[in-house]
């Protein structure tokens, strides 16, 4: 079975900063996967390489078997990315934004799915509001909607709940879990480790551009005999610091 995401030897430098050091990672189709790590660990760089927003210095990255460089059009059709930054186009309404994003992917009659997304992200009553007039949380929901508009089999959420209220977080996760049950692969980065623990079947932890842990959530918790993923995360960070020090 083709892996949803396959990364082999991904390496990336920005000037003197070695952002990713030969990263290997596989996310199976249908998985709910957490990519964790402290700020500057390389999570967003890895996502940008997958999305084609950055180009790897070495290594190969595939989405549903399609190389992100050589078969970029197929790879991007299979990928939906929710960027970390709260960005929007101030010229358009919510609905126009989604119709435009849909059109970029060659979709013409996508109104039913757009309505479904608007309902599930509690945006239906804001469909005709200009993006400028929305609150931060609302803009975040539109970002998520834009990533889902072409029904990608692989969905990458880069800190999707930053600055989002509790009610929306709950409804968002309910919707994302539904998509996962329907077969979509989810790759999530978050600093809310309790979210990752309750939602994700597998976890990778990045530190200074390297994968320092990769396992099922359950096995990570059992092997460390610690109460929560947050405790495991702290312990792994400390271990890797000792290794670097040695």
């Amino acid at each position: 079975m083709t892996a949803a995401i396959e990364i082999r030897g991904a390496d990336k430098r920005f000037g003197t900063v070695h952002a990713l050091k030969s990263v290997d990672l596989t996310v199976e189709a249908g998985d709910f996967f957490a990519l964790l790590g402290p700020n500057g660990a390389g999570k967003t760089t890895l996502i940008n390489l997958l999305a084609g927003l950055s180009v790897a210095d070495a290594g190969t990255l595939k989405v549903m078997g399609f190389d992100v460089g050589r078969d970029y059009q197929q790879a991007r059709r299979n990928l939906g990315v929710v960027p970390q930054e709260l960005v929007f186009d101030p010229f358009f309404t919510v609905r126009e934004t989604l119709e435009i994003q849909s059109g970029y992917f060659g979709l013409k009659h996508n109104d039913d799915w757009i309505d479904d997304i608007l309902d599930n992200l509690q945006l239906a009553d804001k469909a005709h509001a200009n993006m400028r007039t929305l609150s931060g949380g609302m803009k975040r929901r539109v970002l998520i909607a834009q990533a889902l508009v072409h029904r990608p089999p692989v969905i990458v959420l880069d800190e999707p709940t930053a600055g989002v209220d509790v009610e929306l977080r709950q409804s968002l996760w309910k919707f994302i879990q539904r998509l996962n049950r329907e077969g979509h692969t989810i790759l999530l980065t978050t600093h809310y480790l309790e979210e990752a623990e309750s939602l994700c079947r597998r976890v990778a932890i990045l530190k200074q551009g390297q994968v320092v842990a990769l396992d099922t959530t359950q096995h990570l918790l059992q092997s460390r005999a610690l109460g929560s993923l947050e405790d495991v995360f702290v312990a792994i960070m400390q271990d890797s610091e000792l290794k670097v020090g040695a």
Binding site: F14, N48, A51, G52, L53, S54, V55, Y72, Q73, Q74, R76, R77, L79, V81, P83, E85, V87, F88, D89, P90, F91, F92, E96, I100, Q101, G103, Y104, F105, G106, L107, K108, Q146
Partner: protein, 251 residues
């Protein structure tokens, strides 16, 4: 194809939503230029025999407006999207570099031609001017806006801040459009400036466009067509190569 059409329509819709700024404002400034210059220069010798200065000026001013607006459309859209970060929505899609390039350039063509048409039609009520060679008018209107729209895409890719874009506007586009024979025939210039104007592709654009209206020009329209066509090809090739490489767009 649908992805390309969507980006094209989005770019047209973007300027249309602020048409007071993107269509009406250039019309007003062009009419003011025409009012002032045609009044001040009315008693001067005719540039071409039997052609009033106002009739000489109208095609030049209309083309200057088209060049500036085509450039502004692609360049400002790109730099705004880069600065605000929303260009990511285009970069995440399967659009090819060809689709990206032509969507921005053709939207610039639409704005440039729209502004030029509005200027010419409005002015026609005050200064009816002939349209002796309509085909040349259309050819040079399209080539000019493609050239300027491409330059705008190039500037938009390069610029990362608004002041960098202002530098393109003020130090490249404005001098090229003002020193292009929009207000005068280059035969009236001193030898140095005359020679320099011959290296300005915007001169050939304006000269060929004017030929379409008046049937008079400083060089033959075929020579202008050759030079402007070559400039369009060179600029398109360069911009497409840069887009393909991801220069300044994909880190």
């Amino acid at each position: 194809m649908r992805g390309f059409l969507t980006l094209f329509f989005k770019e047209v819709l973007r300027f249309w939503k602020v048409s007071l700024q993107t269509v009406l404002a250039p019309l007003i400034s062009t009419l003011l230029y025409l009012l002032v210059f045609s009044h001040v220069m009315a008693d001067h010798a005719e540039v071409y025999p039997g052609v009033s200065y106002a009739a000489f000026l109208v095609p030049g001013l209309a083309m200057m407006s088209m060049l500036q607006n085509a450039f502004a459309n692609s360049s400002s859209s790109l730099v705004q999207s880069k600065v605000t970060g929303n260009l990511v929505f285009v970069l995440l899609t399967p659009l090819s570099h060809w689709e990206f390039y032509w969507a921005y350039v053709l939207a610039a063509v639409v704005r440039g031609v729209l502004v030029g048409s509005v200027v010419v039609l409005t002015v026609w009520f005050f200064f009816p001017i002939p349209g002796r060679e309509p085909l040349w008018i259309v050819v040079f209107a399209l080539l000019a806006t493609i050239l300027s729209g491409s330059l705008g895409v190039l500037a938009g890719i390069w610029a990362e801040k608004f002041d960098q874009m202002a530098a393109w506007q003020n130090f490249i586009v404005l001098p090229l459009t003002f020193l292009s024979g929009a207000f005068y025939s280059i035969h009236s210039l001193p030898p140095f400036w005359h020679t320099l104007s011959r290296f300005n592709p915007f001169f050939y654009v304006i000269d060929g466009f004017r030929y379409g209206f008046l049937g008079n020009s400083d060089v033959t329209p075929w020579q202008s067509l050759l030079i402007v066509g070559s400039a369009c090809l060179a600029l398109s090739w360069t911009t497409l190569a840069l887009l393909r490489s991801g220069w300044r767009l994909r880190t």
